[in-house]
C-alpha cells in the first residue's frame, strides 16, 4: 500500500474544532505517481483533513491538529516549518473558482512574483504561458491575457485557478471538490487535466462524485465520521471493498 515515492505521510492525525473532534487517528500516504481521491458523505472530515495538509486550517479559529504530517520527511507542524513556503510547495484549488479580480496574466504571475521565481519579464511570460498551457487554457485566453480573470466562464476560471497553482511549481496539489460548481463538459476538461498532471505533481482530490473518483484516481480513501475507513487502490475500493461501511457507501446505501 505504501510506495517508495511517497510525498506526504500522515500519522495518527486528530483534528479538533474547539471541543469537537473532526478527524480521528487518520494515517495516510500520498505519492507522486498516483492521484489520491478522498471520498465520503458530507461532514465526514475529508475536506478538513485535506486542509491540514497545507495548514489552511490555521486560519480557522479554535482548530487544533495532533499527530504528525510529513512532507518529504519534514514535519509540517513543527516550529521550523515556514507556513508560507509550505503552501507554496503544497498548492490548493478550491471548490468554488476564486480567481483574483485581476487580469489573467496577473492571476498566474502573482504566485511566482511573491516567491521571486522569475528573474525578469521574459521569464515571467514563460511561466505564465507554460502554466496556462499545462492547464489547457492557453489557446482560449492567449489573446486576452489582460482581461479580468473573473470575466471567464466557471470552468475556465477553475482551470485558471489550477494554472495559478501550477505556476508556483508546487510538489503537491490539493483539490477540494474542484468540479462541484461546474457543468459536465467543464468537469470532463478538469478531469482530463488532472490525468495529465499526474506524475508531475502529487495530486489529492476531494470529491462527492464517486464516478469521478473512479475515473481520475488510482488510490481512494473512504472517510466516514472523521475516520479513515479504508484506503487502497481505487479499483479495489470500488469493486472489492473490505469494510462493510465502504460497501454500503459505494452501493448508495447512505451518503
Amino acid at each position: 500500500m505504501i510506495k517508495a515515492s511517497q510525498k506526504m505521510k500522515a500519522r495518527d492525525v486528530n483534528v479538533f474544532y474547539g471541543e469537537k473532534q473532526a478527524i480521528r487517528n487518520v494515517s495516510i500516504d500520498v505519492d507522486t505517481d498516483n492521484v489520491t481521491a478522498f471520498i465520503g458523505p458530507s461532514g465526514c472530515g475529508k475536506s478538513t483533513f485535506l486542509r491540514t495538509l497545507n495548514r489552511m486550517n490555521d486560519t480557522v479559529a479554535g482548530c487544533r491538529v495532533e499527530g504528525s504530517i510529513e512532507l518529504d520527511g519534514e514535519d509540517i507542524y513543527s516550529s521550523g516549518m515556514d507556513v508560507v513556503l509550505l503552501r507554496a510547495r503544497v498548492g490548493m484549488v478550491f471548490q468554488k473558482p476564486n480567481p483574483f479580480p485581476k487580469s489573467i496574466y496577473e492571476n498566474i504571475s502573482y504566485g511566482p512574483r511573491i516567491h521571486g521565481l522569475a528573474e525578469n519579464k521574459a521569464a515571467m511570460d514563460h511561466i505564465v504561458e507554460t502554466s496556462l498551457q499545462r492547464a489547457g487554457l492557453w489557446n482560449e485566453v492567449k489573446d486576452r491575457l489582460n482581461e479580468s480573470g473573473t470575466a471567464l466562464s466557471g470552468g475556465q476560471q477553475q482551470r485558471l485557478c489550477i494554472a495559478r497553482a501550477i505556476a508556483v511549481d508546487p510538489e503537491v496539489i490539493l483539490m477540494d471538490e474542484p468540479c462541484s460548481a461546474l457543468d459536465p463538459i467543464a468537469t470532463a476538461k478538469i478531469e482530463e487535466l488532472i490525468t495529465e498532471l499526474r506524475g508531475r505533481f502529487a495530486i489529492v482530490i476531494v470529491t462527492h462524485n464517486m464516478q469521478q473518483a473512479a475515473r481520475v484516481s488510482q488510490r481512494t480513501a473512504f472517510f466516514h465520521l472523521g475516520e479513515l475507513v479504508e484506503y487502497g487502490a481505487t479499483g479495489d475500493i470500488f469493486t472489492n471493498p473490505t469494510q462493510p461501511r465502504t460497501q454500503d457507501y459505494i452501493t448508495g446505501r447512505y451518503g
Partner: protein, 429 residues
C-alpha cells in the same frame, strides 16, 4: 409507520374546502395589496421630493443672496501721486527698501484728497476704509506712477456698495445714480473676495484666508485620519484576536463615532494646547482635533469594507503561499479601498463643516492675513461663516452667503472626487 404517515394527510384533504382563488374575498385581498403598494410608493416619492425641495431651496436662496457677495462696487479716482511724493523716486519704490518707502507715504490722505477733488466736499466718505490699499498695490505694480497723476478704481464704501446693489437708502441711491450716470462708478466681480482674508470692513473682506486655513486643516486631518484609521481597521479585522479586549475596543470606537464634536474640541484644547503647548488657532491643532473626530468614522467604514471582501479571495491568496501581510496589501486592501474611501470622505465632509471643536481651540480669532503655514494662526470656512453672520454691518450678510457658497462648492468638489476615485478603483478591480 407508513399508516401513521398517511393518515393526517388524508384527514386534512377531507377537512379543507377548496381555496377560492377567484372569490371576492381573494380579489379584495389582492386589491388591498396593490393599494398598500401604491401608498408606499407615494410616500417614498413624497419623501424624495421633500428632501430634494429643501436642498433646492437652500441652494437657490444661497445663490441669490450670495451672488452679490462676489461683486464689489468701485469708484473711479484720479490720484495725484506727486503731491505726496516729497522727493520719493520711482527707483526708491523698486529697491530693497520699497516696502518701507511705500509705508512712509500717506496714501490714506491722498485717497481722501483725490475723492474730495473729484467729487466735492465730504466725498471721502464714498471710499471704503481700505481704499488706500488699492493705491498701495497700484504703486507696487507700477512704481512710475509716483511721478504722475493716474486713474485708479478703488472700492466704494459699504453704503455706496449696498445702494449700488439696490439695497441702500434713498440718499445714497441718489449719489450712486449720479456717479453711475457720469461713468465714475461700476459694480463688478471682485477679486478681493478671493484673494484676501478677514477684515472689519465688509468691502475689504476675502475668503482666501479661511479657505487656505480649511485646506491646511483638512490636509492634516486626511494625512492623519486616513492611514491611521485604515491601519487600525486592518489590524482589528485581520490580526486582532477575538476576545474581551477587542470587544471593548470595538464598543469604544462605536461610541467615539457618536461623541458630540465639541467634546473633541475640549480634548484638543486640553491635550494639544495645554499639555503639548502647541500654537493656538493653528491649522495643525485643528487638523489633529478633527482627525481624532474623523478616525472612528473611518475605522468603522473601513472595517465594514474589509469584512465585505470575500473570504475565497483571502483563501486563494493564502493557498498560493502569500504571507498574511501580502494577502492584506495585495488583495484585501485594494478590494476594500472603494468602501474605505467612501467612509473617509463622509468623515472628512463632516470635519469640513465642523465649527464647535475649532472654536474651542482658538480658530475663531480675527485673522486678517492668510495663514502661511501649519503653525500660523488661521480660521476655517465654517468658523468664518459663523463670525461674519454675527457681524452688524449689512455688507457682511452677502459676504456670509458668498462664503457659504464657497463652502458648499468645496464640499461638492470633495464628494465628486470621492465618487471619481471610487469608480476608478472599482473599474480596475
Amino acid at each position: 409507520m407508513s399508516e401513521i404517515a398517511l393518515r393526517p394527510g388524508a384527514d386534512i384533504a377531507v377537512a379543507r374546502t377548496a381555496t377560492g382563488w377567484k372569490s371576492d374575498t381573494m380579489n379584495r385581498r389582492v386589491a388591498r395589496r396593490y393599494a398598500s403598494e401604491r401608498r408606499f410608493r407615494a410616500v417614498g416619492l413624497f419623501a424624495v421630493v421633500l428632501s430634494g425641495g429643501f436642498l433646492a431651496f437652500l441652494l437657490i436662496s444661497m445663490l441669490i443672496g450670495g451672488a452679490r457677495g462676489f461683486t464689489q462696487t468701485e469708484l473711479k479716482l484720479t490720484v495725484d501721486f506727486p503731491s505726496i511724493a516729497a522727493g520719493t523716486t520711482a527707483e526708491a519704490l523698486k529697491g530693497p527698501q520699497a516696502d518701507e518707502t511705500i509705508a512712509a507715504l500717506d496714501l490714506e490722505t491722498l485717497a481722501s484728497t483725490a475723492a474730495t477733488a473729484g467729487y466735492g466736499d465730504g466725498s471721502a466718505a464714498l471710499l471704503s476704509d481700505g481704499a488706500w490699499l488699492k493705491l498701495r498695490s497700484a504703486l507696487k505694480d507700477d512704481p512710475t506712477l509716483i511721478t504722475r497723476k493716474a486713474v485708479i478704481w478703488v472700492p466704494a464704501s459699504v453704503d455706496i456698495d449696498m445702494a449700488a446693489k439696490g439695497k441702500g437708502d434713498g440718499e445714497h441711491k441718489k449719489i450712486v445714480d449720479r456717479l453711475k450716470a457720469q461713468g465714475n462708478l461700476h459694480t463688478g466681480i471682485s477679486t478681493t473676495f478671493f484673494t484676501s482674508a478677514d477684515s472689519t470692513d465688509p468691502t475689504a473682506v476675502g475668503i482666501w484666508g479661511a479657505f487656505k486655513g480649511t485646506l491646511l486643516t483638512m490636509l492634516i486631518t486626511a494625512l492623519l485620519a486616513f492611514p491611521v484609521g485604515t491601519l487600525a481597521a486592518l489590524y482589528l479585522e485581520e490580526y486582532a484576536p477575538r476576545n474581551a479586549w477587542t470587544d471593548m475596543i470595538e464598543v469604544s470606537i462605536n461610541n467615539l463615532a457618536a461623541v458630540p464634536s465639541i467634546i473633541f474640541g475640549l480634548l484638543g484644547l486640553a491635550v494639544f494646547l495645554n499639555f503639548f503647548n502647541m500654537p493656538r488657532s493653528a491649522p495643525i491643532v485643528g487638523g489633529l482635533t478633527l482627525a481624532l473626530m474623523t478616525m472612528p468614522v473611518i475605522v468603522i467604514a473601513a472595517r465594514n469594507a474589509i469584512k465585505a471582501v470575500p473570504p475565497s479571495i483571502r483563501d486563494g491568496a493564502l493557498a498560493m503561499g502569500a504571507s498574511p501581510i501580502q494577502v492584506v496589501f495585495h488583495h484585501v486592501l485594494p478590494l476594500a479601498m472603494p468602501g474605505i474611501l467612501t467612509g473617509t470622505i463622509i468623515g472628512m465632509a463632516r470635519a469640513l463643516g465642523e465649527t464647535a471643536p475649532l472654536i474651542l481651540i482658538g480658530m475663531r480669532a480675527f485673522i486678517s492675513s492668510p495663514p502661511a503655514g501649519f503653525t500660523e494662526p488661521a480660521t476655517v470656512l465654517p468658523v468664518q461663516i459663523f463670525l461674519w453672520s454675527d457681524e452688524v454691518s449689512a455688507g457682511f450678510v452677502e459676504k456670509t452667503s458668498a462664503a457659504i457658497i464657497v463652502l458648499l462648492v468645496f464640499l461638492m468638489t470633495m464628494n465628486a472626487t470621492a465618487i471619481y476615485l471610487r469608480n476608478h478603483f472599482e473599474r480596475r478591480w
